[in-house]
């Protein structure tokens, strides 16, 4: 076993373990932290694939920004985990059986018989001065500019959707707008009911 193979198995086993813990951890904060671990080890694997820029971006963007935000949200929300996990153990036997079957089937097909080094051959390693970042930027803004723009449009949809779904006046809100209060007119608060100014027969005698 070479040095890189050892590193690969090291990272891969941590990744699988962390991935499993994300969905089995009882505490949502722990689950989020395991997700951070999963991203971090995945970045390590990408580093092995000579995708340095992507590996660092994964750490910076996902671990550094997205997951921190995620942790904040998880801590702010009062998530009732017991309710969420209802039925977890009931479904586990069937779901576990299907999952194990799927993994075995996939292992049979995706093993080294079809995608091994003898069939595919390892790509030649790049020279030391090869710039991953530059190459990525070159294709991103030339060949794939259409896909790049589409990704940007998808982000715009996400913004519009998030605002449309969250920006609303709640019906049960007790929020008071002082400007509206100042502008209030007498007619908004007071209703004058005009009544016939006649005396009830016999009402005068009572007061006397």
């Amino acid at each position: 076993m070479t040095y890189t193979t050892a590193i690969f198995y090291f990272f891969a086993s941590i990744l699988v373990f962390a991935g499993l813990r994300v969905i089995t951890a009882r505490n949502p904060v722990h689950a989020a932290l395991y997700l951070v671990l999963a991203f971090f080890t995945a970045a390590g694997l990408w580093m092995l694939l000579e995708a340095e820029f992507l590996a660092i971006t994964l750490v910076l963007v996902y671990v550094g920004a997205v997951m921190v935000l995620f942790l904040f949200v998880v801590m702010m929300l009062d998530i009732n985990l017991e309710k969420l996990r209802e039925g977890f153990w009931d479904y586990l036997p069937l779901a576990g059986f299907v999952a194990v079957l799927l993994v075995i089937e996939m292992a049979l097909i995706l093993g080294s018989r079809h995608f091994g080094l003898e069939v595919m051959g390892a790509p030649a390693p790049h020279a030391a001065d090869y710039s991953n970042t530059k190459e990525l930027g070159r294709v991103l803004y030339t060949e794939y500019v259409y896909a790049f723009e589409l990704a940007a449009v998808i982000l715009l949809v996400a913004i519009v959707a998030a605002i449309a779904l969250t920006l609303r006046r709640r019906k049960d809100s007790k929020y008071i707008d002082p400007a509206e209060q100042v502008k209030v007119k007498r007619n908004d608060r007071l209703r004058i009911v005009k009544m016939q100014a006649t005396q009830k027969p016999g009402a005068g005698e009572d007061g006397a």
Partner: protein, 481 residues
């Protein structure tokens, strides 16, 4: 390395739609609640402008541009024109409904146009990357549209189901695509077709990838056994959104399937044909039988959508140009029928009343003979009764199936559509032979009534003269393959 200057002209409709979306976003943010019709009006202008641009540059030969990610061929142009048309009809039908429910906001129109843009991207994609991005653009807009009615817990639940299952389907699709990439070393559909022309040593991983791709496609189409989300989403979403989901995206899904299976993986037809046969038979069986038990019209039409997608798959699994052409005809006709069916629910609804139960259609003939007649045409067409166009659409896909020697499949399809005729004709019975359930006058706006009349009469006219549309479909397929 030099790059050839990109040809932008074939993508003008997409660029125009994106510019107009941005404009509507800005305009709608600047005006107050009384002027929401501006967004409505500008959306219709966008559709008209895009139609003009597509018609002006109507292509006769496939043009590959934007780095090989974008293809402009007769197939994509014809489908785009039908996409504009169905989105426009959706906007007209749903205007009053949205206004009565406080959903008449710029966001609805912006999201609808974003979804349209996603469908346009899917329709003229020639690369797995653009196919996937277009699909996500469409799906994300649809999830948001379903959830737009925030105070309705049913709509929120439907959106959640749609989102989770949609994400799962996207994952399957991506996994299958990655397998195909592993085997062929390319993501471009043209390159994949060339790489697979003479067979491959990696047949098993390729079939493995195709299984995942077909599963993902079936999820998006709503074919059994990947159909579970359809009834809940159709039922839970506000009817205007159901109308949208049930029409134009079906056309885009057809293009999606035809691009991947028909163009990219054409040489593997013997592998995916068997999978599609299973999907088609199960969809027709479950869709038609489960629809009988429904008392909610939206849910019934959802099961009917499942069975119609099964029928459409019959044309695709034929794997011939005739088959693709008849599947295209089928999906265009289905979009028209679906627009009419859900549109009728919208026309009959009013503030605080959804008109989506079967009993709400009781005695419609006495309340409005003309609308009842339109609904009769739509139901006859969905059931496949001549002389409506649904009959011809079914006939042409069955012909394609018989051509490849699957006579038993055609017989099964006919039997299932006979079962299906029961619940379509039940609506007709309710409308004509039962006493009205409520006698409130129908308050549909005149423009929606006119569009509904055109919609219903088009079903009849196309049924009497199906040849022009069929010729367009066959021509589009011939010129693009």
């Amino acid at each position: 390395m030099r790059h050839a200057l990109m040809q932008f002209a074939p993508a003008f409709p997409e660029i125009f739609v994106l510019i107009m979306i941005s404009l509507i976003l800005v305009v709608d943010a600047a005006v107050d609640d009384g002027k929401r019709f501006l967004a409505y009006f500008l959306s219709l202008v966008t559709l008209a402008g895009a139609s003009f641009l597509t018609l002006r540059d109507f292509s006769t030969l496939p043009v590959l541009t934007l780095g090989g990610l974008f293809i402009d061929d007769p197939l994509s142009d014809v489908l785009k024109l039908f996409l504009y048309l169905s989105v426009a009809i959706v906007l007209v039908y749903s205007r009053d409904y949205l206004r009565q429910r406080g959903l008449y906001k710029g966001e609805f129109f912006v999201l609808a146009l974003f979804a349209l843009l996603g469908m346009m991207v899917m329709v003229s994609a020639s690369h797995f990357l653009t196919l996937y991005l277009g699909l996500e653009l469409l799906s994300l807009s649809l999830y948001a549209m379903v959830a737009l009615q925030r105070d309705s817990s049913v709509a929120t639940e439907a959106a959640m189901k749609y989102f989770v299952l949609g994400a799962l389907a996207s994952g399957m699709l991506l996994y299958g695509m990655s397998m195909v990439y592993g085997v062929t070393g390319s993501l471009g559909l043209g390159d994949i077709a060339i790489a697979l022309q003479d067979g491959t040593d990696l047949r098993i991983p390729l079939v493995f990838g195709i299984v995942f791709i077909v599963a993902g496609l079936a999820f998006k189409l709503g074919a059994v056994p990947f159909h579970m989300w359809i009834p809940d989403v159709y039922h839970g979403a506000p009817t205007a959104m159901t109308l949208f989901i049930g029409s134009a995206p079906k056309i885009a899904a057809f293009a999606f399937v035809i691009r991947i299976l028909g163009q990219g993986l054409e040489s593997q037809v013997s592998d995916w044909r068997g999978m599609l046969v299973i999907l088609a038979v199960l969809s027709m069986a479950l869709g038609n039988i489960a629809a009988i038990a429904q008392s909610n019209l939206k849910r019934m039409l959802a099961y009917s959508a499942i069975s119609h997608m099964g029928f459409m798959l019959l044309g695709i699994l034929a794997g011939s140009q005739n088959g693709y052409g008849s599947a295209m005809f089928y999906v265009l006709v289905y979009a028209l029928m679906s627009l009419g069916g859900f549109g009728m629910i919208l026309l009959l609804s009013r503030a605080g009343f959804e008109a989506d139960r079967l009993e709400d259609f009781k005695g419609l003939n006495r309340r409005s003979p003309w609308l009842a007649f339109m609904m009769l045409l739509l139901m006859f067409s969905m059931a496949g009764v001549p002389p409506t166009v649904g009959f011809y659409a079914k006939l042409s896909v069955l012909q394609a199936v018989v051509e490849i020697g699957y006579v038993w499949l055609a017989v099964a399809a006919v039997l299932f559509s006979l079962i299906g005729a029961f619940y379509y004709l039940r609506i007709v019975k309710l409308m004509y032979f039962d006493a009205p359930h409520d006698a409130a006058p129908i308050k549909a706006s005149p423009d929606a009534r006119v569009v509904m009349s055109v919609n219903g009469l088009a079903i009849l006219a196309l049924g009497i003269m199906p040849q022009p549309l069929m010729a367009v479909c066959i021509h589009a397929i011939r010129a693009s393959f």
